[in-house]
C-alpha cells in the first residue's frame, strides 16, 4: 500500500507540533538548588580571584619584585565583585526559566 503524500505531510506537521511542545526545556530549579547555586557561585569567584592574585604575586615575586600580598588582596576583592555579578546573572537566568515554565503551564491550561 503506497502512503498518501498528503496524509504523510499532515502527519509530519502534527509530529512537529507535538515535538515543539515537548522540546526539552530546563525545569525551574528547586529552592535548595537555587541556594546551592548562589553559594557556589560566590565562593568559587572568591577562590578564583584569590588564586589569580596569588599567581600574579608569585610571578612578580619570582621575576620582578616581591609584591605579595598586594595583588592577592586586590583580586580577592575583585573576586567578590565577580561573585556578585555571577549571582546576578544566575538569578536572571533562573527568572527566565521560571517565566518560561509559567508561560508553558498557562498555555497548557488555556488550550
Amino acid at each position: 500500500m503506497a502512503p498518501d503524500p498528503g496524509r504523510l505531510r499532515d502527519l509530519g506537521q502534527r509530529l512537529d507540533q507535538l515535538q515543539a511542545r515537548q522540546a526539552p526545556k530546563r525545569p525551574p530549579p528547586s529552592q535548595a538548588g537555587i541556594a546551592g547555586r548562589f553559594a557556589t557561585e560566590l565562593v568559587a569567584a572568591l577562590i578564583v580571584g584569590g588564586g589569580l592574585g596569588w599567581g600574579i604575586d608569585w610571578l612578580l615575586g619570582r621575576f620582578v619584585l616581591r609584591t605579595f600580598p598586594v595583588f592577592m588582596i586586590v583580586f580577592v576583592v575583585l573576586g567578590a565583585a565577580a561573585g556578585i555579578l555571577n549571582v546576578v546573572r544566575a538569578a536572571r537566568e533562573i527568572n527566565a526559566q521560571i517565566a518560561a515554565a509559567q508561560a508553558r503551564s498557562d498555555e497548557e491550561n488555556g488550550s
Binding site: A23, P24, R26, G36, R37, T40, E41, A44, A45, I47, V48, G49, L52, F75, L78, G79, A81, A82, G83, L85, N86
Partner: protein, 253 residues
C-alpha cells in the same frame, strides 16, 4: 562493621605495585580507575550494540540509545543553534560519561567516580579549554571582546578583571555542583544506612523503629536516581551554553 559514611569515597589502589611513575609520583591502578574503565566500556558497548540492528521499529535497547542521541542533539540545537552541532560528539561523550558514572555509582558497593572533585574538575577544565580554543579559532583575538562589557574606559580597568575572574569561575562552579550533589546524596544514604544498622542492633522496640530510616532510604534512593540524571543534564547543557558564548560572543545581550 564499618559505619563511617565517608568510607565509600576512599580511593584505594587495587594493585599494590604502582603501574608507573609520572614526574616522580607513583601512579596506581585504583578502584576509581577501574570504575571509569568499566563505565567507558559499558557505555560504548551498549550504544554500539544497541543500534547495530538498525531496525525500523526499534527494540527497547535501540530506542534507549536513539532517545539519548536525540535528547542531546535537541539540547545542543536549542542552546547553540545549527553550528553548535559540530560539538555533538564532545557533548554527547561528556553527557554519557557523567550519566553512566552517576548511575554506576548507584549500584551498592560500587564507587561513584563523579563524587571526586579531581574527576569533575578535570572534566570541567576540558570543557573550558574547548570553549577557549573554539573562541580563538572562530574569532581570533576578537574572542577577547567577551571580557569587555560596554562601559566607559575608566570603568573598564575595573570591569575587565571582574569579567575575567567571572569567566574562570565557571569550571570551578561547574565541577563543584556535580561533585557536591553526588557527595551529599551518597553520604546521606550511608548515614541513614548507619541508622538502620544501629537501631536494628539495639534490640527491642528500637529494632522496630529502624523501619523509619529504611523507608527514608528508599525515598532518597529514588531522589538520587533523579539527581544522577539531572546533574548529567546540567553538566551537558552548561557545556552547550558556554560553547554558545564562544561561538556567538555577545549575541545574547
Amino acid at each position: 562493621m564499618n559505619l563511617n559514611p565517608m568510607e565509600q569515597f576512599a580511593v584505594k589502589p587495587l594493585i599494590a605495585e604502582p603501574l608507573f611513575a609520572l614526574g616522580g609520583h607513583p601512579i596506581y591502578f585504583t578502584n576509581q580507575a577501574l570504575l571509569m574503565i568499566i563505565v567507558v566500556i559499558a557505555s560504548s558497548l551498549f550504544l554500539t550494540l544497541a543500534v547495530k540492528p538498525g531496525a525500523l521499529v526499534p527494540s527497547r535497547a535501540q530506542s534507549m540509545a536513539e532517545l539519548s542521541y536525540e535528547f542531546v542533539g535537541n539540547m545542543i540545537h536549542s542552546a547553540t543553534g545549527e553550528d553548535g552541532l559540530r560539538f555533538f560528539p564532545f557533548v554527547f561523550t561528556i553527557f554519557m560519561f557523567v550519566l553512566c558514572c552517576n548511575f554506576f555509582g548507584m549500584i551498592p558497593g560500587s564507587f561513584t567516580v563523579t563524587s571526586q572533585i579531581a574527576v569533575t574538575l578535570a572534566l570541567a577544565l576540558l570543557v573550558i579549554l574547548t570553549v577557549i580554543v573554539t573562541g580563538f579559532v572562530k574569532h581570533g583575538l576578537g574572542f577577547l571582546r567577551l571580557f569587555v562589557p560596554k562601559a566607559p574606559f575608566g570603568l573598564l580597568l575595573l570591569l575587565v578583571p571582574i569579567e575575567v575572574i567571572s569567566f574562570f569561575t565557571r569550571p570551578l562552579s561547574l565541577s563543584v555542583r556535580l561533585f557536591a550533589n553526588m557527595l551529599a546524596g551518597h553520604t546521606m544514604l550511608a548515614v541513614f544506612g548507619g541508622f538502620v544498622v544501629a537501631l536494628g542492633a539495639a534490640g527491642g522496640i528500637l529494632s522496630v523503629l529502624s523501619l523509619g530510616p529504611m523507608l527514608l532510604i528508599i525515598a532518597i534512593l529514588l531522589l538520587e536516581l533523579l539527581v544522577a540524571f539531572l546533574q548529567a543534564y546540567v553538566f551537558a547543557i552548561l557545556t552547550c551554553i558556554y560553547l554558545n558564548e564562544a561561538l556567538h560572543l555577545h549575541d545574547h545581550h
